[in-house]
Symmetry: C2
Subunit: 339 residues, 2 copies
Amino acid sequence: MTPDGLAVRTGAPVAPLGRRGRRHVDVPDLVARARDGEARAVARLISLVEDASPLLREVAAALAPHTGRAQVLGLTGAPGVGKSTTTTALVRALRAAGRRVGVLAVDPSSPFSGGALLGDRVRMQDHAGDPGVFIRSMASRGHLGGLAWATPQALRVLDAAGCDVVLVETVGVGQSELEVASLADTTLVLVAPGMGDGIQAAKAGILEVADVFVVNKADRDGADETVRDLRYAQSLGGRHAGPGAWRPPVLRTVAARDEGVDRVLAEVGAHRRWLEASGEGARRRAERAAREIEAIALAGLRERMGEVRGSAALAALAGEVVAGETDPYRAADRLLASL
Amino acid sequence: MTPDGLAVRTGAPVAPLGRRGRRHVDVPDLVARARDGEARAVARLISLVEDASPLLREVAAALAPHTGRAQVLGLTGAPGVGKSTTTTALVRALRAAGRRVGVLAVDPSSPFSGGALLGDRVRMQDHAGDPGVFIRSMASRGHLGGLAWATPQALRVLDAAGCDVVLVETVGVGQSELEVASLADTTLVLVAPGMGDGIQAAKAGILEVADVFVVNKADRDGADETVRDLRYAQSLGGRHAGPGAWRPPVLRTVAARDEGVDRVLAEVGAHRRWLEASGEGARRRAERAAREIEAIALAGLRERMGEVRGSAALAALAGEVVAGETDPYRAADRLLASL
């Protein structure tokens, strides 16, 4: 393991590999080094999958046998609820328990990736030099389908790199909290007192995705009210009504002082056991994989649609149709087969 | 040939074949009968291609060797300029010259096909019992790509049925005049005096698609002004500027009295000779075939995209990905191959 355990890179965002020109990359070696916990190898693999490099498929194939072990925690909430602080506190607690941890900070409003954000620099100071933590900022703006595209691939890298837990943190804006929940085994929804979050949560459909509610900044005025609001909103929802169903706990934390964080992890553990016992965990993993395959298949079809327009083969086929040698349907079949 | 030369069917629109249940259809026999000029066979073939029947491909393949002979005339113009009357007069003149004629009346605002429109009934009376005329109304609303989808296939049916000329008539609303021009060898743009059409034509891009301008109702006040407006607008355009280029003539007709119609057909003939001599005719035919192939290929890809979502194969592949037996990219390849 290298002394710099952080996959964070500061400075300008990474250009897609294509623009830098091809360099020889030994994928099996890179995967072997990532599995040994080498941060640079992990960072490089994430860049390869995130930039949709020509090696993407080779990387995915090499990672596959080493995946399926990591527990994925989704963390979402409105700006200002203390997501970064909570992530830092959770990482600290997980490290204290000897777990290897990955963090993917997804910023749906940012076109930049690679860890140039202020938040990472702050966290970096906290975990600098710890070889058991990988932190990576990911942009989702500009990516087809936002989180859906690159994040699952980055998750696979961290999974194969031996992370016991991967935290996926995203700002709860627009659809991102639903997307993060679709990636996670367990979704933590953070709220803070005095922000009307209890009511907003119900509106935004956050109740449907939360496995654990965390009322952070619980030392502030209004914390009791926020907890009560959430429980009331929960009582109205039907999702967790059945016997044997998981009832999302509403917890209090002051993440800046590490208060309540162990309790959060205890509930995460309880949820994990419930996932396994109920079969819901297997169902979520299968659904996640299905969505991933579907997204890749659809992207492939869209790419072929782009190739159809203006393809060189088209002109030759058009000539055959004009001559009555073939019909447009057989020509279209041959066009698609040729792409 | 049957005594009823008209492909017009009145009454309710035809339900897609699928909803009527499959019946045995002998496609080669149908094509042979259509080539003999049997109106019912022509109508049936158009229905098969228009309804995207399962036999569509077989029909297209059977038609291919017999296509490429018909001259396609596009006819477009704003409502009220006298398109139906002009079509009727053109058909009369073409029949007098012994030509076999097909008419496709495309109504972009109508969801109904098959010839149930008033316009067809009127024309039907004019050409009833003439085995050398096929008339068909086609809806384009609701079809993917409007005219782009079914009309070229219907054109092929009429072409294979031995039509010397096929008139494609559409209301010049929205993009339809551009679409009809993309289907036609020669595009006639109809205007009428006192409708400000000269100026509107320039705006709507009609100048770009017209091969022949027809100022119909030329006995009305303002006809001279309309002709002058069109010539002025033409002088501003750059398309027909080069040497050897076709300069669209501006003709006058009173279609209701058959006045000027022979002159229109003479110019259509001159345009056809120019098309062949200049190579523009071959270019247009090739471009038309390419667009047709492209539309079919894109529709096929869109169909596959629909199949990806919710496919049964997806669940099995997801299981393999979860187990680490394959990666999502290989799974996506296999999913697409299986559809």
